[in-house]
């Protein structure tokens, strides 16, 4: 267990040193959400009706653009080979990296989401549902992202291919995450959506970890 803790700590230390990149992801999240009024017009009613979706989609995009340095740095300096060869099980290594990714990317997004929702004229009565749905959803996004990032490691074109691979995998979590928020706004029960979202996270995690580990082994040969 200390091995995993050490890995997370190392990745976080790296993320702190690369403050700029983590900060950039957050800035992207804010900017992308803020750009919507320019695209669809500042009408408060319209913005309010799409606010939850906009926050969620931009959270998804922010998670996706930060995937490149999930594994690539380690691949390039050779430490990935060591991780693959030494650490059993490799799934634990992937879990550690996902955790670090979430702490550096997902958690700040969750924290900043209420602010973005406020700017988009979101009905703040349901702010806690938004935060909860994102708190459950962003780890799932990190896990799905690790599958994409690991598969794409040896490939020629990185960025857009990662997005293409990852986005279908993220769809279910987002549907239920946004569904929870909309249920709250419509006065319908929120719990079913949250539960299904959590179930997808819990059931999908082992598969994501296994697939990422398998992909890492291929990348390192």
């Amino acid at each position: 267990m200390t091995g995993i803790g050490a890995l997370v700590a190392r990745d976080l230390a790296l993320a702190v040193r690369r403050r700029g990149e983590a900060g950039l992801t957050l800035a992207f999240f804010v900017m992308a959400a803020a750009i919507f009024p320019f695209g669809v017009g500042p009408d408060p009613l319209l913005l309010g009706s799409i606010a939850a979706g906009v926050v969620w989609v931009t959270a998804l995009l922010a998670s996706t653009i930060s995937l490149d340095h999930l594994f690539r740095g380690d691949l390039e300096d050779g430490s990935l080979e060591i991780l693959v060869l030494d650490h059993r099980p490799l799934e634990g290594v992937v879990a550690a990296k996902c955790l670090a990714h979430w702490l550096a990317t997902g958690l700040p997004v969750v924290a900043l989401a209420p602010l973005m929702a406020l700017l988009l004229n979101f009905d703040m009565d349901a702010w806690w549902v938004l935060v909860l749905s994102l708190a459950i959803g962003t780890p799932a996004l990190s896990l799905a992202g690790s599958v994409g990032a690991s598969l794409v490691l040896g490939a020629r074109r990185g960025g857009a291919l990662t997005g293409l691979v990852v986005l279908p995998l993220c769809l279910p979590v987002m549907v239920f995450g946004v569904g929870a928020v909309e249920a709250a706004l419509a006065g319908r029960p929120v719990l079913p959506h949250i539960l299904i979202e959590a179930a997808i996270l819990v059931a999908g995690a082992p598969l994501a970890l296994k697939a990422s580990a398998a992909a890492l082994r291929i990348a390192v040969e």
Partner: protein, 245 residues
Amino acid sequence: MPLRLHSLASPARFDRFARRILPWTWVLAALLIPCGLLWGLAFSPADYQQGDTVRVMYVHVPSAWMAMACYALVALLSASFLVWKHQLAGIAALAAAPVGACFTATALVTGSLWGLPTWGTWWVWDARLTSVLVLFFLYLGYIALAGSFDDRSRGLRAASILAVVGVVNLPVIKFSVDWWNTLHQPASVLRLDGPAIHASMLWPLAITAAGFAAFFAALLVVRIRSELLAWRIEALMRRRSAGAA
């Protein structure tokens, strides 16, 4: 690690198998497809609600079926490749994927056209069409991933993992798209299944579907042999450049 083709006992056997069944499959496809389509166009009844538009069903539904069946096949072959190291299975999956993607694209276009008189718009985010769209993205991801590696073997293995992940995700995606759709759409949207399938409609549908399947099988054999050639070429060139170095 490059694919060692001399360890593939199968290609020779596959080639012999292919030579035997291929002519029959082509004949089957050439007979069934025109028969089914003509029957649907000319000899099946028009629907009392949708009129002659319902005839699009005879190209849309078989295409959608083939799109889904092909993805299941790609996933199955990929799993066989990953778990039991059955090399020919991996290559077959690679050969099948673009065919499936084409069927998916056809299903999308014909589905969109089918809905046009009913909905008045070119595209509607109804549950069926949206699921097919996501399926299309899954295909694209597989094909793009497999082709993005300089080492074909690596690309195939990465794409195979993606195929297995995708097929596991597919029911979840379908479920979530259906859920999302019922939340956002009123209940009375005309379903793209068409009317309750009458016997006179079932025959051209089944014949066309069978024809598509035969066409797929024949085309797959051609494409597998083509892939095997490509692998041999790459192995040869790699050996030559290694020898020359």
